[in-house]
């Protein structure tokens, strides 16, 4: 019925729809990932996994100072890749692609974790170089994704050691995200995802101190959607203009509805990541957003996503 095909293809991996569970949300245990798979997501990105286990930051780790303004400082908690492989094994029977997200402090760690996932049979990886608060407290030191040389070193090393495609997750906390997309693609990134959270801070006026346990954190949720759209458009336009080799872009930031998904696709994204919006509609977010997208496409007479992808971008070139 309807004959609408929502499937997309990211680096040879076919997804039944473009709504991907974004990294950092829910993706740490097999039971919860299975639940997310059953919720209708097109693919699942795991929590970012490192070599050794990480306890993450102290609480509060998640607050919503104003409606739609979500701040978090989880601090990349994860059990380490050796323990996480056991969780992945439990998921071999699900028919939704799992994208392990990997994190590390240096290229050796990125290489170790990415190789382990390739050996375990993963078909694609997301390389998270852009968590804005992975280290404790207020450091003021640029993260990997804020430094083109560090970015290049990590991607070079990962690409040399694995043969599966990698998605590089970019930071919005840079002057020119296109520069970082360019470096990533030149070093062999097979896709990019944008954006990670935006550097943020909230203060309690009574306590006279920052609210997040880690003091500083990253902003996500509906409040960042328009910023994310701009960043995705910037990268997509550079690709259209052939300033960067064209690779799939996964748009992430405040996506909650079918219309939101369409907005990113219209800006040239191949697929989208959904995370913080799960706060509002829980796991029904995926079903609701996907059926919303279908309704919109039906209304517009589109049969497949490529019928309208990048249409909004055309205005800007």
């Amino acid at each position: 019925m309807g004959g609408i095909d929502l499937s997309i293809n990211i680096c040879g991996i076919k997804l039944k729809n473009p709504a991907i569970l974004a990294s950092g949300i829910l993706g740490c245990t097999s039971g919860i990932l299975r639940m997310a798979a059953e919720s209708g997501a097109g693919a699942l990105t795991t929590k970012s996994i490192s070599v050794e286990e990480r306890h993450g930051h102290r609480g509060p780790i998640l607050i919503e100072p104003m409606h739609g303004v979500v701040l978090n400082a989880f601090g990349l908690p994860n059990p380490g890749y050796r323990a996480f492989m056991e969780e992945l094994k439990e998921l071999e029977d699900i028919n939704v692609p799992v994208i392990p997200s990997i994190a590390g402090r240096n290229y050796e760690e990125f290489v170790e974790v990415s190789s382990a996932f390739e050996d375990a049979g993963s078909k694609i990886l997301e390389v998270n170089i852009s968590c804005p608060h992975s280290e404790k407290g207020y450091g003021g030191v640029p993260i990997i994704a804020q430094d083109t040389e560090k970015t290049a070193a990590i991607i070079d090393a990962v690409k040399e050691s694995v043969s599966i495609p990698i998605i590089v997750k970019l930071s919005p906390n840079v002057t020119d995200i296109v520069e970082f997309a360019k470096v990533s693609v030149e070093c062999g990134a097979d896709a990019v995802s944008a954006i990670n959270t935006i550097e943020a801070l909230e203060v309690d006026p009574i306590l006279e101190r920052p609210v997040l346990g880690n003091m500083i954190g990253g902003q996500s949720g509906p409040s960042i959607r328009c910023i994310a759209q701009r960043k995705v458009a910037d990268i997509a336009i550079a690709m259209k203009r052939k300033e960067i080799k064209k690779v799939p872009i996964i748009g992430i930031g405040g996506i909650r509805s079918g219309e939101d998904i369409a907005r990113f696709l219209l800006l040239g994204a191949e697929g989208v990541g959904i995370g913080s919006s799960i706060l509002y509609d829980d796991l029904d977010t995926f079903d609701k957003a996907i059926s919303g997208l279908k309704d919109l496409m039906r209304e517009k007479g589109y049969k497949k996503i490529s019928d309208f992808r990048s249409n909004a971008l055309e205005w800007m070139i």
Partner: protein, 273 residues
């Protein structure tokens, strides 16, 4: 909007025993028995000066009472955050997020409470509400030793019958709560069972309630971090204890492979119980 930590003053503190104090604070939303709050202790001690080198963590605490807009939080001094809190005085400020989570479903006329240690907290709130509804309350409450007991006088007022067990025999019956479950159940003709305490104890209560086919609910303990279902660290099988729980029925629990077997560590790794 999700609930954010709201800064409240501690209005009263009641010392329950050497390790447990109940802190009374005012909250806006009416809690139901079974709900919990995320308790944030923003510094180690004092009024509004930063004394701690680092802020304490945010921890889930079951609500143990609700009266005239004030909740009671019975907190056992077991770790860094609770240790800091135990130094606080009335007038000191803490952060409260919530009430969060689901609640007990009070069913039948005769209800049996099976509590272990500080697991009595949410069940005491449940008992008070159930008693006000005209239910008959039966309680089996177990601790390691007499010094750990709390809320006994309060329970005596509302319970039709109260059995207290101690592992070391220092008070009333020597043994554990599950040793007395069967006899108590048969004599009192119980309609429903509510349990909270160490998970291995609850596992035995679950097995019993499934055997007797009696409606039962359990309040689970996991490492709760975000409290709103987003981070996923409090998972048990496919459920989040913070949002889908903390109260689960025997029907749910019998399908959980992790109940009574494993917990998750702070990093999400597997911890054998």
């Amino acid at each position: 909007m999700i609930s954010n930590p709201r800064i409240v003053e501690i209005e009263r503190i009641k010392k329950e025993n050497d390790d447990i104090k109940t802190f009374f604070v005012r909250i806006e939303d009416k809690p139901e028995p079974g709900n919990y709050v995320m308790l944030w202790v923003p510094w180690s001690k004092g009024k509004s000066k930063r004394i701690a080198i680092e802020p304490s963590d945010q921890i889930p605490i079951s609500i143990s009472s609700f009266k005239r807009g004030k909740i009671g939080l019975s907190v056992k001094n077991v770790g860094e955050t609770t240790n800091a809190l135990h130094d606080f005085e009335p007038g000191d400020r803490i952060g409260i997020t919530g009430p969060l989570g689901n609640s007990f479903n009070i069913r039948g006329k005769k209800i049996l409470i099976v509590a272990g240690s500080v697991g009595l907290s949410p069940l005491y709130f449940l008992s008070r509400v159930a008693s006000e509804m005209g239910k008959q309350i039966y309680v089996i409450y177990g601790v390691n030793s007499k010094t750990e007991l709390f809320l006994i006088k309060e329970l005596e007022k509302i319970a039709e019958d109260l059995i207290i067990t101690t592992d070391d025999g220092s008070y009333q019956k020597k043994g554990c709560v599950t040793d007395f479950l069967s006899d108590f159940y048969d004599i009192s003709k119980i309609d429903s069972i509510y349990s909270c305490g160490p998970e291995l104890m609850m596992k035995k209560v679950l097995d019993f309630s499934l055997k007797k086919n009696v409606f039962s609910q359990f309040s689970l303990d996991r490492y709760i971090r975000c409290g709103v279902g987003l981070c996923g660290f409090c998972a048990i099988d496919g459920c989040r204890v913070c949002k889908d729980g903390p109260v689960f029925t025997s029907e749910q629990l019998k399908g959980f492979g992790e109940f009574g077997v494993v917990k998750r560590s702070k990093s999400g790794g597997v911890l054998r119980l």
